[in-house]
């Protein structure tokens, strides 16, 4: 009788172990992506699409920002790192790179803000803190300008710094949020704020202003009249796994590029 008790406990233990470690899980191959939050929702959508037709593959997508993507891709911890940057840092020299989409950066303000357009020079002055009040740039809004930026590891931030701040530094008064979505939310609720997000993230909850008279939309990015844009890279180690290769080919295929274009990014393949 005592033996039965010990045996049953042992049995439960083994079943639990089996279940918890997923030893019995069917051999699913995992393709891991991480990085750019600008491309994240699109990567998710494409992953979902891909898994419908490839039942034996799981595609795991993480965010973290472009710098995270580069770091984990070069360490081999993920299969593909996603980075949305103008120019890739030298840590990526050992990695293969391919551009999967292009995206513009829109400058956004609260929907209650009467501002419609800013010159590039004004933009630099606002974001570097040289101009502190809305009235100084002729906007009928009382109060200080509250700049909201991304943290340094963001590809969007790096591209923004290079294209708009150039040699100037971001104002020390700036507040920070950690993804495109959270900046949009912050600007949506704060009437005095100004920030920047990927054009792919624009919606009716915030207002995108035009820069030097050019409206921030994909057409103008393609025409290169709206110059604030950057490519979105997939970075991976040389000799990737076959599942990784297949997934990248899928992303560069017509079907995926159509989805990318339909959802607000700029495709790199003629569709």
């Amino acid at each position: 009788m005592k033996f039965g008790k010990t045996a049953s406990i042992f049995f439960i233990f083994i079943t639990l172990l089996y279940f918890l470690t997923g030893i019995g899980a069917k051999s699913q191959k995992i393709v891991r992506l991480a990085g750019s939050t600008a491309f994240l929702p699109f990567a998710e959508k494409l992953a979902e699409h891909y898994m419908k037709t490839h039942k034996d593959i799981t595609v795991d997508v993480q965010g973290g920002g472009s710098a995270v993507g580069i770091m984990v891709a070069s360490e081999g911890i993920v299969d593909i790192g996603m980075a949305d940057m103008l120019s890739l840092p030298k840590e990526t020299d050992s990695l293969e790179k391919v551009v999967v989409a292009r995206d513009g950066i829109a400058i956004i303000v609260n929907t209650g803000n009467p501002l419609k357009n800013l010159t590039l020079k004004d933009l630099t002055q606002v974001f570097s803190g040289k101009v502190k009040e809305w009235k100084e740039i002729g906007v009928n809004l009382s109060g200080q300008i509250r700049v909201i930026s991304r943290e340094e590891g963001s590809g969007t931030r790096k591209s923004f710094d290079q294209l708009i701040l150039q040699s100037a530094r971001l104002t020390t008064d700036a507040m920070f949020q950690d993804s495109n979505g959270t900046i949009r939310e912050a600007v949506k609720s704060d009437p005095n704020s100004i920030g920047y997000i990927s054009i792919g993230f624009l919606d009716s909850s915030v207002k995108a202003i035009s820069v030097d008279g050019i409206v921030a939309n994909n057409e103008n990015v393609i025409l290169e009249t709206y110059k604030i844009s950057r490519p979105i890279y997939f970075l991976f180690k040389q000799n990737p796994t076959p599942e990784t290769k297949n997934f990248i080919q899928f992303i560069l295929g017509k079907e995926a590029q159509k989805i990318i274009a339909g959802d607000g990014l700029i495709p790199v393949v003629k569709i």
Binding site: G64, G143, R146, G153, T172, D173, F176, S189, D190
Partner: protein, 284 residues
């Protein structure tokens, strides 16, 4: 045969315990090993007193974050301690048995609500209110202090209740026998007697407030400037670690671990203070 089983089990338990203790040591060791060399290289004063945090230019000064953490924590204590201790006093001295029975588990419930929910309510309800009443963006030290103050209430209330209940009945009886009112008894006899227990609770709450991350990231605005008013946005040490953890490499990564070391030492000191406070109470 029986002894054999005894010895086997004892060895197993010993093994279990030793591996666990090694794991705990590993955790502490890992954090210090990553952070301390950086502190030595960069210089502790430069790190703690540096006013600029610019990883791109290899400048790692965490003074703004230290001030942010301290200001937010002190704000939380200003809100949490009076209300918490007041609740404890009322429940122990003035309320009926049923109120206490109902309230104590209710307050434990507050402790169980995830911090992200607190942060969410902070963004949705508190921040707009502060923005319209006081101006500014609504994401500020004040907002964080209120949210954290509510979050540490359960700790302070529970421990204060325990501390006040532990005061010997004879103290209270003696005071009343000499003609004091209940309130006079509380102020002049009970509170001083329970002082160290309540203090331990306050310190515990302080530790919780300093260590909170998610709720704080959501409501402070995370700016890198040294704050000059309670309505300013700020960044705490914990938020800094969370915001930059993913991509930090080399010195940047080491700097984050160094921040963790500073936090660890601070909590260590708080623990030591708590222990000495409680010990001094026991020897009285």
């Amino acid at each position: 045969m029986k002894y054999f089983k005894e010895i086997i089990i004892e060895k197993c338990i010993k093994l279990l315990a030793m591996s666990t203790i090694s794991i705990l040591i590993l955790i502490i060791f890992f954090i210090f090993r990553q952070g301390v060399p950086f502190l030595v290289k960069y210089g502790l004063p430069n790190f703690i007193l540096g006013q600029k945090w610019l990883p791109q230019e290899n400048i790692f000064g965490i003074l703004p974050m230290i001030i942010g953490s301290l200001w937010v924590t002190i704000g939380a204590l200003i809100i949490g301690v009076p209300i918490g201790v007041a609740c404890a006093i009322y429940l122990v001295e003035f309320s009926g048995k049923h109120t206490k029975l109902f309230f104590k588990p209710a307050i434990e419930l507050l402790a169980g609500i995830p911090s992200v929910v607190y942060g969410f309510i902070g963004i949705m309800v508190l921040a707009p209110f502060i923005r319209s009443t006081f101006g500014g963006s609504g994401l500020s030290i004040l907002t964080a202090s209120i949210v954290l103050g509510i979050m540490i209430l359960p700790t302070i209330v529970s421990i204060s209740i325990d501390a006040l209940s532990a005061v010997p009945l004879s103290y209270k009886e003696g005071s009343i026998a000499m003609g004091a009112t209940s309130w006079q008894t509380i102020v002049m006899v009970l509170l001083p007697a329970a002082r160290s227990g309540i203090l331990a609770g306050v310190i515990l709450g302080m530790g919780r407030a300093i260590g909170e991350t998610m709720a704080v990231i959501m409501v402070t605005g995370n700016s890198l400037k040294i704050p000059s008013s309670t309505l300013d946005s700020t960044r705490t040490m914990t938020s800094n670690i969370a915001l930059e953890m993913g991509y930090a490499l080399g010195d940047h990564r080491a700097a984050l671990f160094a921040t963790a070391v500073i936090l660890f030492i601070f909590i260590l000191l708080l623990n030591i203070i708590t222990m000495t406070v409680i010990k001094s109470k026991k020897t009285r």
